[in-house]
């Protein structure tokens, strides 16, 4: 990971941006770094915090609707099949995501590392500092906690969690300035 000089001007003014398709209702902060050659799609109402890095050098990145991606997170497409985030995905700070797919309603908390081409099911919760190895498959409703212990979440609170994410997005839309037009050309 090469150290980056300045945040505000780092949105690759020298190298061209990858093809971006940003929904008009998405909110992109300042100082997001896009790199790579494959297209990056960002769905409706999704929020991307500052200092995120999205790298599509090896494949496309598709972010669904109503996702929140926090600062200092790296999204790297693992291969030509790309990285697909479902709807209502919450990714907290300091994550490094090289997964092939993260299912709907899943959340990755602080500092989660997802190995190359790993697949995360729907409504999963990955607790802070969890590491998922390359090509691993995490089934739906799994909670990973502690030292890689797993259980199935049978509380059926998936819909309630989506509602919290919607309220979170509504709050962030009031707080974060939208700089999406900076990336739209």
């Amino acid at each position: 990971m090469a150290p980056k000089r300045s945040g505000a001007t780092s949105s690759t003014s020298s190298t061209p941006l990858p093809p971006l398709s940003i929904d008009p209702t998405a909110v992109l902060s300042d100082a997001i770094s896009f790199s790579g050659i494959y297209p990056i799609t960002i769905g409706a109402n999704s929020i991307i915090h500052p200092r995120c890095k999205l790298n599509s050098s090896d494949g496309p990145i598709i972010i669904g609707a109503n996702c929140i991606i926090s600062e200092k997170t790296h999204l790297i497409a693992p291969d030509i099949d790309g990285l697909v985030l479902g709807d209502f995905v919450l990714i907290e700070v300091n994550c490094s995501i090289q997964a092939a797919r993260i299912g709907e309603g899943s959340s990755a908390e602080v500092g989660v590392r997802l190995g190359k081409a790993s697949r995360i099911g729907n409504n999963c919760t990955l607790s802070p500092l969890t590491t998922v190895s390359d090509r691993d498959f995490i089934p739906d409703l799994t909670v990973i906690y502690g030292e890689n212990q797993r259980r199935i979440d049978s509380s059926g609170t998936g819909i309630a969690r989506c509602e919290i994410i919607l309220a979170h997005i509504e709050c962030l839309k009031k707080l974060l300035p939208n700089k999406a037009e900076k990336y739209n050309r």
Binding site: P3, G7, A31, P50, R51, E71, K72, V93, N94, E109, V110, G111, S127, P128, L129, Y145, G146, E147, I164, A167, H168, E170, C171, K174, L175, L176
Partner: protein, 180 residues
């Protein structure tokens, strides 16, 4: 001295690295003589949303005196739903708080003389009282309360030992400030 010019010194003696990322600085209070190293991130823009008609809550992050935020650490106000309204809530750090490299702090209150190691995660709305040491790589669960004079370690973080009564002297950061 190349090292000196890395920091911008404020009137109250805070030393803030030019390579740090401070967002929403109008909502951040630094008590003075606080050091913020490179690649630190402080999210002052995530402030409390108040219903219309009330005066706006101005402070998102308050930091006391002689704090030390190491490289790559991150302070982020905690958020929750309360009475149907999702909002961020203010975060308060006391004096002589050390935050290790790469740690992420989403606590509500951190007392004075607290030392947090490297790569720790302090969960949302955690309350840490005075004179606490948090070992490297600890993950403290959201909404926990850590009592005074504790040593916390593990994943999830648990109090494993009691610190001696002289802990405040050991955890003082005045010398560290003079060294930068």
């Amino acid at each position: 001295m190349a090292q000196k010019s890395e920091y911008i010194q404020t009137e109250t003696g805070n030393k803030v690295s030019r390579k740090s990322l401070i967002i929403g600085s109008q909502n951040i209070i630094l008590g003075g003589k606080t050091i913020i190293q490179a690649e630190c991130c402080i999210r002052g823009d995530l402030r409390r949303l108040v219903p219309q008609g009330q005066s706006a809550a101005a402070v998102a992050i308050a930091v006391g005196r002689y704090c030390f935020l190491s490289r790559g650490s991150l302070l982020r106000p905690p958020s929750k739903i309360y009475r149907g309204q999702f909002s961020y809530y203010p975060m308060k750090l006391g004096d002589h708080v050390f935050v290790g490299e790469g740690s992420v702090i989403e606590a509500a209150v951190i007392g004075s003389y607290v030392s947090i190691g490297k790569n720790c995660v302090i969960g949302k709305f955690t309350i840490i009282k005075d004179c606490v040491r948090v070992e490297d790589g600890t993950v403290i669960a959201p909404n926990s309360v850590i009592p005074s004079f504790s040593l916390v370690e593990g994943h999830p973080g648990q109090v494993t030992e009691e610190l001696p009564e002289t802990a405040a002297e050991i955890l003082e950061l005045k010398e560290l400030y003079k060294g930068v």
